[in-house]
Amino acid sequence: MGDKDLLVFQIDYLALAPELIVVTTMIIVLALDLILPRPKKYWTATVAVAGTALALVPLAFLVLEDEVRSMFDGSYVVDEFALVLKGLFLVAAYIVFLMSHSYIESERYYQGEYYFLLLASLLGSLVMASSRDLIVLFIGIELVTGPLYMLSGWRKGDVKSNEASMKYFLLGILSTAILLYGMSFLYGLTGEITFAGLAEATAGMADEPALIMAVLLMIVGFAFKISAVPFHFWAPDTYEGAPTPITAYLSVNSKAAGFVAMLLVMYLALPGVAEVWAPALWLLAALSMTIANLTALRQTNIVRLLAYSSVAQAGFMLVPFAAAGVAGADLQEAFAATVIYLVIYAVMNLGAFAVVIAATRSGRSGELSAWSGLARVDPKLGVLVAVFFFSLAGIPPLAGWFAKFAMFRSVMIAGGAATVALAVIAAINAVIALYYYAKVVKSVWLDDPVAEFADDERPAGSLRLALGITVVLTVMIGFFPALATFAGEAARVIASG
């Protein structure tokens, strides 16, 4: 190394522009938080929202440019996949900021710090999308989750929130330790940390027990992030206890970050040992779908229900991974399917949480019984509930159908008895899932209103914007899935590389 000069590594500022903008925004937010008097602190929110939006601009340039920018020996790459995922993270974060605005303002929270931490987590996910070696990936993951441990406990006075935070934190560091142990072995076995190098070095090592262990340990680490069964236990408790926008962020950005990690490591770093990770993920997928769906049937609290739903959805997203393990399977297809699912899931799940925030704004609890006849009181919100929950259930013509479609497609494309069995499990689970999603819609639309809430007050503008964006996307993607497949297409490029 000694010979190498620092200047060997050219820093491509355009490629890093989104990250830099986010960093700048963070600093401005911090500074503003110091200067502004309490009543004016909402400016921090405005800045965060604006900064996130602004970060999309260079992203657009990069997308149009259509060129792979690689830095630091290929450990940090800005390509189509990275851009798509960064776009997803930014948009999702943008929507979460919109949702947070009224929520955070309505109680006594630390606004500046709140936005700072969320931006930090966002920064982590942006870094992850570009990471092409284990260290960057690891640091990225830590930056994503670290702030979230604290944000889940943001309602400091609420013991539930404390508990959410603690559970998330303890299991989070356990998973970090396990992940790191796996990484250390991977490094030890190959001497490589870049994904490209790992792919080369691990090819044909599928029989090496130590490698198997390393891979499995890493899977467990990621499985925690995406809350796959049996590493999901934290999710319902944390989702319920955390502030709702954070829950939305957890279920979308954080989960997406987990999937990004998993996608990168499995497909880019370890394609040669797909026969190891695919069966493992098969198992996780089957367990996640089945256990979570069955559990969700029993839920009476919407947020808990959404938590289990998100676990189940993670199971669906894992299905293509399992399909990739079939001999001769088209890894690109599987890869693309997960990305498509992820994009669509992000949109509709954010929408669902936005609806939860909107519905609970006037003192309605998250208990399903409190939602009875909501549509009678507020038909527009009722329509939104129907759209998002049916979309989650995968009912055409709402976006969710295409996610499931892509998922099934990837399974069918692979063939093989085990994957077909998984497809059948998935199909059965899709119907089970429909039941509890429909239960929510039923409550909202078909049941009589139970109690009077002051629903005449319109949701805040930012929340309406969040709802608007998500609902339009949900419906549009349903009719024009090409909007989502574009993401998958981009991902395909990277998987072939």
């Binding site: 693309a336 055409p396 099934f408 069918m412 429909a438 639309w445 078909l446 899935p481 090409a482």
Partner: protein, 540 residues
């Protein structure tokens, strides 16, 4: 009008959605504007479909050539296209759909079930219209699936919100449920269960087609071509057909997947029942003709006896179940099981006669059962009960309504000279001589049993008339004012009545559109000389 050649179908499919947008903009309170908008949207859709008829070239009406065809890239990644087009098979179905929708809007003018809310209801109807019209014109499996499923949500809400609110004991559950709640979720889950398999089947076709010159494709015309050349065979095709069969059979519905139907029909608001019976059920049988048969002809043949048996069981089963009903609407609902059995029997023969029978049967059932549900709804509107034991002497209280009911019941039992006859009769004709190679024993038994089914059909229809229409009105109605048929009802019903008679005496009305294309479909799929030249295998 050149643009119409390419965009006519798109217009027909999506005009209702324009209606949805407009309806969304009109405030809830402005009821008359809402109704007018809904009416105008549906009439314009109907008009568009009439222009389609006018410009349809009946002379070049062979299978797998489509008119008003449009193919635009839709989901490039999976090679799914916005590919629409019609032929002589889809044309009648499409027009039926647009036509019934107009009548439904007219009827609903002053018939709003609780909790009213015309705006929401009309919006749902318009979405439904898009789904139904789209299914009949889609030429891409993914597009077909999408439209096929679109109808699910509006119908769910129709049943769930405006449906029957009486509590009901559900076998297997301890507590009572409101009928609408049970029916809505049941309808939803059943259909979705079928759709899941449908989707799997479509995907399997997609991948299998990858081996062909077209590459992986969802395109129905291309798949049809492949199917005709025997590209899909063996266990694979057998399973695929089974999966697709399941999807369509639930929708049709065939025995034993029918149990959602009585509940859904009974619980749905009037217009919902009408649309459900008139058009939604046809989506399944249409799917058989459009997808199962041409794309998987070999498997269709090997599944045919099974389908025929189920169809015949459905005929007898549905009719017998009708006899046990005490609820008028439920009876009519069960009658659909029997009638759709005839349609499926026709399809299962795989002959041009049978398929023509199915199509005319679909149209006829749409008109007749639609009308029956209209009447049942109107009667419920006036009597506030559907218990046949409490009704009676309706024709005395409301002669016109009673007369129309009697007429429709007669049409429903397949009286020759009315529309319902042709489907039943020709199904039986077709099952006498199914496609060569199919078991004559099965199909001829099916023919006999199906014919016996017509007796039962007559039985329950007459019995219903006796209970509802005839005799002296019960004491509880004494002194009550009953308004006979009002002008909206007449406006909605008379066109149906006229069409029932016209098709009854002049089936060419439908056949002129279907016969050539069906013949070439059978030629193409089963590679046989036209089976209407029946002579070959008598006594064989």
């Amino acid at each position: 009008m050149e643009w119409f050649e390419t965009w006519g179908l798109t217009l027909t499919v999506f005009l209702p959605l324009v209606g949805v947008v407009l309806l969304g903009l009109i405030p809830k309170e402005n009821e008359s504007a809402l109704k007018t908008t809904g009416l105008v949207a549906s009439i314009m859709t109907f008009a568009a479909s009439l222009i389609l008829i006018a410009r349809f070239d009946f002379s070049s009406n062979t299978y797998n050539t489509y008119q008003f065809e449009v193919s635009e890239t839709w989901i490039g990644a999976i090679n799914a296209n916005y590919h629409v087009g019609i032929d002589g098979i889809s044309l009648p179905m499409l027009v039926l759909s647009t036509f019934v929708m107009v009548l439904a809007v007219i009827y609903s003018w002053n018939h709003w079930d609780e909790p009213k809310n015309p705006k929401a209801f009309l919006i749902l109807m318009m979405i439904l219209a898009t789904g139904m019209n789209g299914t009949f014109v889609a030429l891409d499996l993914v597009l077909f699936f999408l439209f096929f499923e679109i109808v699910l949500l509006p119908m769910y809400f129709m049943i769930g919100i405006w449906g029957d609110k009486t509590p009901r004991k559900i076998p297997g559950f301890a507590k009572e449920f409101e009928t609408r709640l049970y029916a809505a979720i049941k309808f939803f889950l059943f259909t979705l269960f079928g759709s899941a398999f449908l989707l799997l089947g479509f995907l399997a076709l997609y991948f299998e087609s990858g081996k062909s010159q077209f590459g992986r494709t969802f395109d129905i015309p291309q798949l049809t071509e492949l199917g005709a050349s025997g590209a899909f065979s063996g266990t694979f095709a057998f399973l695929v057909f089974g999966a697709i069969f399941l999807g369509f059979a639930v929708k049709v519905p065939m025995f034993p997947f029918h149990t959602w139907l009585p509940d859904a029909h009974t619980a749905a608001p009037t217009v919902g029942s009408v649309l459900l019976a008139a058009i939604l059920l046809k989506l399944g049988s249409y799917g058989f003709i459009r997808i199962s048969l041409p794309i998987l002809p070999e498997e269709a043949v090997s599944w045919a006896p099974f389908i025929a048996i189920l169809a015949v069981i459905g005929i007898i089963y549905g009719s017998l179940a009708c006899l046990a009903q005490s609820d008028m609407k439920r009876l009519i609902a069960f009658s659909s099981v029997g009638h759709m059995g005839f349609i499926m029997l026709g399809i299962s023969t795989m002959t041009d006669i049978g398929i023509n029978a199915a199509i005319i049967g679909m149209v006829a059932h749409g008109l007749i059962t639609g009308l029956l549900f209209f009447i049942a709804g109107s009667m419920h509107h006036r009597y506030h009960t559907r218990e046949m034991a409490r009704l009676g002497g309706n024709i005395k209280l409301m002669p016109v309504m009673g007369g129309i009911l009697a007429f429709t019941a007669m049409a429903s039992l397949g009286l020759p000279g009315l529309a319902g006859f042709w489907g039943e009769f020709m199904s039986l004709v077709a099952s006498f001589n199914p496609l060569p190679g199919l078991s004559l024993g099965v199909f001829r038994s099916a023919m006999v049993i199906g014919a016996i089914g017509t007796i039962l059909t007559a039985g329950y229809m007459l019995w219903m008339l006796q209970k509802v229409n005839l005799g002296e009105p019960g004491d509880e109605w004494e002194g009550k004012e009953f308004h006979d048929v009002d002008r909206f009802e007449l406006a909605a019903w008379v066109p149906l009545i006229v069409l029932i008679v016209v098709i009854g005496f002049f089936p060419k009305f439908i056949f002129s559109s279907t016969t050539d294309v069906v013949t070439s479909l059978v030629d193409m799929a089963f590679n046989s000389e036209t089976t209407a030249a029946i002579s070959s295998q008598i006594g064989g």
